[in-house]
């Protein structure tokens, strides 16, 4: 039986209570909504791109501790990254929460490794990846909202 503390790590609880970059970017040149219709989780992510670089990124919305902490930590991790770097990080993050990453890979994603415990809870993968899917859609210029259902 997985230990709850593996899922609800201190960092996750702390970010869910006090999310970083929790604001709107006025006039953001990238924006997308992500929602999970079955849960009612709903976030809007904002990004300001300069050329190929994510100059600023933020989010707002409501959802569970996992989805909110994931959105918060994501904004910290991808600020200043290029689009290609974002895609690489998203891919590694996705592999980790779905249980497809090796321990070595985990080291490469820094603080995001606190979400490794999610792989023991398959139904919560959609919570952990919601903001990532939304940001991915925003950066690719998709006007549609994304859904993890």
């Amino acid at each position: 039986m997985p230990d709850l503390r593996e899922l609800y790590q201190e960092v996750i609880l702390e970010h869910s209570k006090a999310p970083r970059n929790y604001r709107e970017i006025g006039g953001a040149n990238r924006k997308a909504e992500g929602f999970n219709p079955l849960c009612g989780d709903h976030y809007t992510v904002y990004a300001q791109m300069e050329g190929d670089t994510i100059r600023d990124v933020s989010f707002q919305g409501a959802g569970c501790a996992i989805s909110k902490a994931s959105a918060s930590l994501m904004t910290q991790s991808v600020k200043g990254k290029t689009l290609a770097e974002f895609e690489g990080l998203f891919s590694k993050f996705h592999d980790m929460v779905t249980g497809h990453a090796s321990a070595a890979n985990r080291g490469e994603i820094g603080k995001l490794s606190v979400f490794a415990g999610v792989s023991e809870y398959p139904v919560r993968v959609k919570c952990a990846t919601l903001a990532w899917h939304a940001l991915n859609a925003a950066l690719k210029g998709s006007q549609d909202s994304v859904s993890t259902e």
């Binding site: 039986m1 997985p2 709850l4 503390r5 899922l7 609800y8 609880l13 209570k17 079955l38 849960c39 009612g40 989780d41 709903h42 409501a62 959802g63 569970c64 501790a65 996992i66 909110k68 809870y121 139904v123 919560r124 919570c127």
Partner: protein
Amino acid sequence: MSAAANRSSLGVAPLAAAGSATPYDVQKIRADFPILSQTVNGKPLIYLDNAATSQKPRAVIDAITRYYETTNANVHRGVHYLSQHATDEYESARETVRRFLNAAEPGEIIFVRGTTEGINLVAHSYGRLKIQAGDEILVTAMEHHSDIVPWQILAQEKSARLRVAPINEAGELLMEEFARLLGPRTKIVAVPHVSNALGTINPVREITRLAHEHGAVVLVDGAQAVPHIAVDVQALGADFYVFSSHKVYGPTGIGVLYGRSALLNAMPPYQSGGDMISSVTFEKTTYNKLPHKFEAGTPDIAGVIALGAAINYVNGIGIDRIAAHECELLAYATEVISAAPHVRIVGKAKEKAGVLSFVMDDVHPHDIGTILDQEGIAIRTGHHCAQPVMARFGVPATARASFALYNTREEIEALAAALRKVREVFA
């Protein structure tokens, strides 16, 4: 918490078993449900997600096996022994349902896939026949999506108007507002007998009386009522009444639409094909009589027979004794959950059945659900297919514990203890 004194006003039969000497032996009942003996995450399963679907007693599981081992043949078709035997069992289940709802005739009982299909049948068939531009369909603010969307589509198609009767902070229908919304344009009223998100028991008898004064017909969504309280469709004055087998201890994929025969006879078929015809030529088809006009194609024969077994099981215990047991559980759960730290109950109607929705400060229902799951406790978390209800109470989602005839006070105590654990994790 339906006190016996209030039952008559709710169209609920009086407590037949009141004063009965036989005690309610919940352990004996639990032994009838094979699934309840398992462990989940190393803990005994505590199943409190009955409003989503109920577990099945051995009698229902056996009915399905017995049907396929001894009876399987198509119904209403063959002259051979098995076909007649299968038809007899299938029609016998219809009679069981008729008695359970106290419908006047077996032809008024239509087997469908579930509550959703029952509502869709009425919206398509009765709705398209009767609704014209400018007409109104009245629903309530506590509706399940399945009792909103079919009417919304119908209203859009016919340029009719969908109106919504509001509810108060307790989650009760505002009857004065409801009455005010009724008018000469109101053609259909759709209400839940019991709200799936709040547990509110609606005063259906009063609703049908008011609606009928304006010439509207009333569809009652009984999905959450049938497992918990005695239902008499004639006493309620329901024109249509729908429920799902799987919420009342029967299999999934089968449900019931009750309709008054005068209405059903006037309605065009919903689906067409075999079994629903009397004669077919390439020029003209004559439809079969009720109920077959609405049962095109080979039905879920095993499902119908097993639903009959489920109702027989419920009758064997007695719906009024079940109602009394669950009423006590709900009262106890309300007491202990209210006392849990930082918990707020959503839906405090005076008349409730089966359902306890709640939220906890600073903890999302999904996180509650995951932590409870670690304790072997199954509850529902989310919007319960009732997003307008969530919006009304200003919450994105709730946690919902819902009770059945096999739940115990000890399980409710375990739920309260697990909620304290949630608080510890999020402290």
